[in-house]
Amino acid sequence: MKSQVKSLVTNVMVIILILSFGLPFAAAQNTEEIPRLSNGKPSMTGYWDSVRRVDVTNTRLSGYVEELPYTEWGLAQWESYDRTDPEQGDYAGSCMPFGISRTVFGPWPIALKHDNDHLVMLAEQNSWFHMIPTDGRAHVADFPSSWWGDSVGHWEDDTLVVVTKNLNGYTKVDTAGHPMSSLATIIQTFTRVDAQNIAHTFTLDDPGAYTEPWTVYNNWAHQPEGFRIMEYSCMENNLTGLTSGSLLPWIRPDETQPSE
């Protein structure tokens, strides 16, 4: 009886640990060798799936942000955003680029192709791609700002660090609509903890919208052999909604972005 109780307690502890910290704990059992690039660094190549995160503050999902430290501008953005208001014309409904955050927090798989010089993200969501040089080059100082921004990667030991700058400030952090300004820098880390998992972090350093950086932790799970990325033509069935007026088109916001 005593051993049964002990076993039950152990099992409950395992469940709590997994529910609290997600799959990385379970993945610790994996003993397959981590694939490596020709330069010896871990390869991120593969098909990956992650946790759908509609709201980065959702406490039901491990790795969430406890409290977002808004600036005055950020709080005003958050309080004025109403995703149920069709007049605000959500950019995602118009199939404008989701950018990094709403892609990595989205529900669809991502293929990564990785060599010594580049990490290429091939997202199923809207069939977007994003190229990240990892060959030591710097950000392009005079690049025009954009939805996805300009990303470069570098290694810190066996962790690939991707820094993205020069964002246009039109994207939101998540579907819930948490703000992001044109002053934002996104820092992602990719650590291949074993053959089946990447520990991924998303840090937003955005002095326009938040008084200090904050981080979301997500596990990316490797998809089995034979997995396929499917076509995702976003406008295909949104067009009738937009042309009928049921879905209002996104309009470039005219509010001023915060200044440095």
């Binding site: 395992v14 529910l19 759908r52 069709p86 995602a92 995702y232 009738t240 049921s246």
Partner: protein
């Protein structure tokens, strides 16, 4: 322990599943989940497109007119991975739809559709 791990991962995964209304964009801007609609009719056409499938449903009215509603369902890629196929529903199939009305007055578009057959079998 392996069994427990599998159960734990399953529970963990289930907790991570988001409702379909958040599947792509802010669907709440087009459809009002607080304003439900229930339709009984027959399938006119299945449109298997991203980001959400549409099922056109012919719904007879009391005055004899047939209105054709466009009911949006889930994301076709996610549905495919769960085993759903376009020909699970065919034109002429009787169908019951529960969904959310469009915010636009008079619109025959319905969002977040759930589809069942008259005998209560859940299709999508």
């Amino acid at each position: 322990m392996t069994k427990i791990l599998k159960i734990s991962i399953l529970i963990s995964s289930l907790l991570c599943i988001s409702p379909p209304l958040f599947a792509h964009h802010s669907i709440a801007a087009e459809f009002d989940s607080e304003n439900p609609i229930r339709l009984m009719g027959t399938v006119n056409e299945v449109v298997w497109m991203n980001p959400h499938i549409s099922i056109f449903v012919d719904v007879p009215q009391d005055n004899g007119i047939i209105l054709t509603y466009e009911v949006q369902g889930g994301n076709p890629n996610s549905m495919y991975r769960r085993g759903a196929r376009k020909d699970d529903l065919k034109p002429g199939d009787p169908i019951i739809v529960e969904g959310a009305r469009a915010r636009k007055e008079g619109s025959l578009r319905v969002g977040q559709g759930n589809f069942t057959t008259p005998d209560g079998t859940e299709v999508w």
